[in-house]
C-alpha cells in the first residue's frame, strides 16, 4: 500500500515569531524553519506501518517554498520516507482549502490508500486541511488520532475528543490526522541523513497540477496579542466583590 504523509514547513516551535513591520504577516527571513511537529508524528506512524509490512511506500508531500527541500531531506526522508514531492509555492502559510485541492490532484495521480497528516500546523493552528481533503475526496476521516490500527482494507482510529476517546473504523482509502500522543518520532540517524540526499524529491507547482493557488483570503492586519494589563490588589473580600460587581463580572 502506498501512503502519503503531509509535511508542512513551519517556523520552528522554539522560535518566538515576530510580526513584520507592515503588520501583514510574520517575519520568516533568517528564522529557523522545521517540519511541523504533528507532521513528524505522521511520518513516524507511516514508518511504523512500513515496518509492520502494511505500507510499502511512503511519499512525503510538502506544499511550500523551494527551500523546503532541505527540511524534507533532513526530516521525513532521513527518518525513512521513500521519496518526496514538493509543490512549490511562493509563501509558507498556504490556505488549507488550496493545499487540500493540491493534495486531491496528487492523490488522483499517485493513488495512495492512506493519507496521514498532522492534525494542525503550529503556525496557523487551522486544523482544517485533513477534513477539507476528506470532503473533497469523499473519503472517511479519522482526525486527532492517538492510536491507529490497520486491518485488511480498514483502519481503526482512536480519536482524542473533548469528552474523551472515540474510536472509528473506516474503509480504505482514508484520511488520518495525527495528534500528539500517537507516537514519539524517531531521530533520523546520521547515516540516514546522508543517505536521504540520494532520495528523489519530485518538484511541481499548483499550476502544473491544475490548481488555481491565487489566495482567496487577504490578511488585512496582524497584531500581537495586547499586553496583559496589570491587575490591582484589594484588601478585603468585600472590596473584591465590589470590584467584580462594578465591572459587571457578577
Amino acid at each position: 500500500m502506498k501512503a502519503f504523509v503531509g509535511c508542512k514547513r513551519v517556523i520552528d516551535y522554539a522560535v518566538k515569531p515576530r510580526i513584520n513591520p507592515e503588520k501583514t504577516g510574520v517575519v520568516t527571513q533568517n528564522v529557523k524553519m522545521s517540519i511541523n511537529p504533528f507532521d513528524e508524528i505522521a511520518v513516524e506512524e507511516a514508518l511504523k506501518l512500513k515496518e509492520k509490512g502494511i505500507v510499502k511506500e511512503i511519499v512525503a508531500v510538502m506544499v511550500g517554498p523551494s527551500a523546503g527541500s532541505l527540511q524534507l531531506t533532513n526530516g521525513p526522508l532521513a527518518m525513512g520516507a521513500d521519496r518526496g514531492i514538493l509543490v512549490e509555492i511562493p509563501e509558507e502559510d498556504a490556505n488549507p482549502l488550496l493545499v487540500a485541492k493540491v493534495f486531491q490532484k496528487l492523490i488522483a495521480k499517485e493513488n495512495p490508500e492512506l493519507v496521514l497528516l498532522g492534525k494542525q500546523a503550529i503556525d496557523n493552528d487551522a486544523n482544517q486541511t485533513g477534513q477539507i481533503l476528506a470532503g473533497l475526496m469523499q473519503w472517511p476521516q479519522g482526525t486527532c488520532a492517538s492510536k491507529v490500527e490497520m486491518a485488511e482494507k480498514q483502519v481503526t482510529v482512536t480519536r482524542e475528543i473533548d469528552s474523551g476517546l472515540r474510536t472509528v473504523t473506516m474503509d480504505l482509502p482514508a484520511i488520518v490526522t495525527c495528534d500528539l500522543r500517537l507516537n514519539t518520532p524517531r531521530f533520523a540517524t546520521l547515516q540516514n541523513i546522508m543517505k536521504a540526499r540520494k532520495k528523489t524529491i519530485e518538484k511541481t507547482t499548483p499550476k502544473d497540477l491544475g490548481v488555481d493557488f491565487a489566495p482567496k483570503l487577504k490578511v488585512l492586519q496582524l497584531d500581537e496579542p495586547s499586553v496583559r494589563k496589570a491587575g490591582i490588589k484589594v484588601a478585603t473580600v468585600e472590596d473584591l466583590v465590589g470590584h467584580l460587581k462594578k465591572t459587571g463580572t457578577i
Binding site: 532541505l70 531531506t73 533532513n74 531521530f187 540517524t189 546520521l190 541523513i193 546522508m194
Partner: protein, 428 residues
C-alpha cells in the same frame, strides 16, 4: 609583518613529519561540501553544507532533549551515561572517523567538530566519553594494518563499545618522552609492564591503545611502540574511578599492566614508531576537543544571557547594566573567534594540509575562552551562580580540564612557538 602571518599552511611542504606524510597519503583530501547553495564569489564560505546542517540538527536535538536533563544527575553520582552513549552510537554520532571500508561513516574532522560542539553544550563529560573513542581509535586508523582495522574498528561500529588512549602515566603527562611503561619482546609476543593514569573511558573500554617504551636506550622519537591491548587479557588491572573536579560523567582511571602478553600482531606500525604515532593522532583529535570547549562556552553564554534578560536589579534587567553586558559581549567575541579557529583547524586537515598550528591555536584559545566564559557566567548569576541548583557552577568545574588534557595550555603555546620558528626559518 602582515605577509609573515598571511598563511601558515604553506609550512606543509617543509614541516611534514613522517606521520603526517603517512596520514596525508592514506587519506584522500576529504572534499566535504563546505558551501551550500550560496556560491561564494570570494572563495571563503562560512555556511554549513546541507549534510552538516542535518548532523547539527540531529546532534542538537539529541543533546538538548536527552542529555541536558540527565546531566545534573551524572554530575552528582559520577555514573557512566551508558544508556545515552548507546543511543548516541545508534544514531551514528560516535566513531565518525572510522573509514567506510570498516563500516564507518568516514566523516571529516569538520563534520565531527559540529557534532562535538552540540554534545558538549549539553554536557562536556558526556562529549568527552564519546571523544575518548576517537582518540583511542585514531592511531589504529592512521597506522593499523587491514586485519587490525577490521578487528578493532569493526567491532566499535557493530556495538556501542568504548576505547581508551593510554599514554599518560602518574609521573609524566606533558613529558611523553619520559614514559616508563615497557614492552619487552619475547618470541612472538611483547610483555607489557607499567602504569597509565587519567585514562578516559578506562573502566569501560573494550580495548586500549597503549604507548610503551620498547627500546630503553634510544631517543624518544624511536624508543616507543604503540600496541592494541584488550581489556580482558590477564594482567590488565583497572583502577578505581577517579573523582574529579568536573566532567564527572566521564570515567577516568589508572590502568596497570602486569606482565600482559601482547601478540606481535597487535603492534601498531613498525617498532619505534610509537611516539610519532601518538603525537600524530593529536592533529586530528585536538580540533574536536577545542570544539568541546566551544560548546561549553556557548552553554555558559546562553545560560548567562537568559538569566540577564529576566533578573532585575536596581530597577532594570541586569542585561542593561553595562558591566554585565560587557561580560556577555566578551564571551560572545571569544566563542565566535574560537569556533572559527576550531573550524579552520578541522578544515585544514580535511582538505589534506598539515593543521598542527591551527589545532594548537584552536585548542589553546577555546580552552581559555571556555574557562573565562564559565567563570563569568557564574559571576553574572551572582550568588545563585555559586549554587548547585543553577547550571553554571558545573560549567566552571567542567571547563578547567580543557586547559589541561589533550596537551596543556602551556604545551600548546610551545607547539605554536615551535611552528612559528619553523615558519620564520622558511620565510624571514
Amino acid at each position: 609583518f602582515f605577509f609573515f602571518y598571511s598563511s601558515f599552511s604553506s609550512r606543509r611542504t617543509i614541516m611534514l613529519s613522517s606521520i603526517s606524510r603517512l596520514a596525508c597519503s592514506k587519506s584522500v583530501p576529504k572534499a566535504r561540501s563546505f558551501g551550500t547553495t550560496v556560491a561564494p564569489s570570494n572563495g571563503i564560505g562560512f555556511d554549513l553544507s546541507d549534510d552538516q546542517k542535518g548532523f547539527q540538527e540531529l546532534a542538537r536535538n539529541f543533546a538538548r532533549n536527552q542529555v541536558i536533563p540527565a546531566a545534573p544527575e551524572w554530575d552528582k553520582t559520577g555514573e557512566y551515561p551508558k544508556a545515552l552513549l548507546q543511543e548516541a552510537h545508534k544514531l551514528g554520532l560516535m566513531n565518525t572517523h572510522v573509514p567506510k571500508e570498516y563500516g564507518g561513516l568516514e566523516l571529516g574532522i569538520l563534520d565531527n567538530i559540529i557534532i562535538v560542539e552540540e554534545m558538549a553544550y549539553a554536557c562536556s563529560g558526556f562529549s568527552t566519553a564519546m571523544g575518548g573513542n576517537d582518540l583511542g581509535q585514531m592511531p589504529v586508523i592512521l597506522a593499523g594494518n587491514d586485519e587490525q582495522k577490521k578487528k578493532y574498528l569493526g567491532r566499535c561500529i557493530d556495538e556501542p563499545l568504548h576505547v581508551s588512549y593510554c599514554v599518560t602515566e602518574p609521573s609524566c603527562g606533558s613529558d611523553v618522552a619520559a614514559i616508563k611503561t615497557s614492552a619487552v619482546k619475547k618470541g612472538d609476543k611483547w610483555i607489557l609492564n607499567g602504569q597509565k593514569m587519567w585514562i578516559t573511558n578506562g573502566g569501560h573500554a573494550n580495548w586500549y591503545f597503549v604507548l610503551a617504551r620498547t627500546n630503553p636506550t634510544a631517543k624518544a622519537g624511536s624508543a616507543m611502540t604503540g600496541f592494541i591491548v584488550e581489556r580482558e587479557w590477564p594482567g590488565v588491572v583497572v583502577g578505581r574511578k577517579e573523582w574529579n573536579m568536573g566532567q564527572r560523567a566521564s570515567d577516568t582511571r589508572g590502568i596497570t599492566f602486569e606482565d600482559v602478553e601482547v601478540p606481535d600482531a597487535n603492534r601498531l606500525g613498525p617498532e619505534g614508531f610509537g611516539f610519532k604515532l601518538a603525537m600524530g593522532a593529536f592533529d586530528r583529535t585536538r580540533p574536536p576537543v577545542a570544539a568541546g570547549a566551544v560548546g561549553l562556552a556557548q552553554r555558559a553564554h546562553d545560560e548567562a544571557l537568559k538569566y540577564a534578560m529576566t533578573r532585575k536589579t536596581m530597577g532594570t534587567e541586569i542585561i542593561n547594566h553595562q558591566m554585565v553586558g560587557a561580560m556577555l559581549a566578551d564571551m560572545a567575541i571569544g566563542i565566535e573567534a574560537s569556533r572559527m579557529l576550531t573550524y579552520r583547524s578541522g578544515y585544514e586537515m580535511d582538505v589534506g594540509r598539515k593543521n598542527t598550528i591551527y589545532a594548537s591555536m584552536a585548542k589553546a584559545m577555546a580552552a581559555d575562552v571556555a574557562n573565562k566564559a564559565a567563570s563569568d557566567a557564574v559571576q553574572i548569576f551572582g550568588g545563585n551562580g555559586f549554587n548547585s541548583e543553577y547550571p553554571v557552577e558545573k560549567l566552571m568545574r567542567d571547563a578547567k580540564i580543557f586547559q589541561i588534557y589533550e596537551g596543556t595550555a602551556q604545551i600548546q603555546r610551545m607547539i605554536i612557538a615551535r611552528e612559528l620558528a619553523g615558519i620564520a626559518k622558511e620565510r624571514l
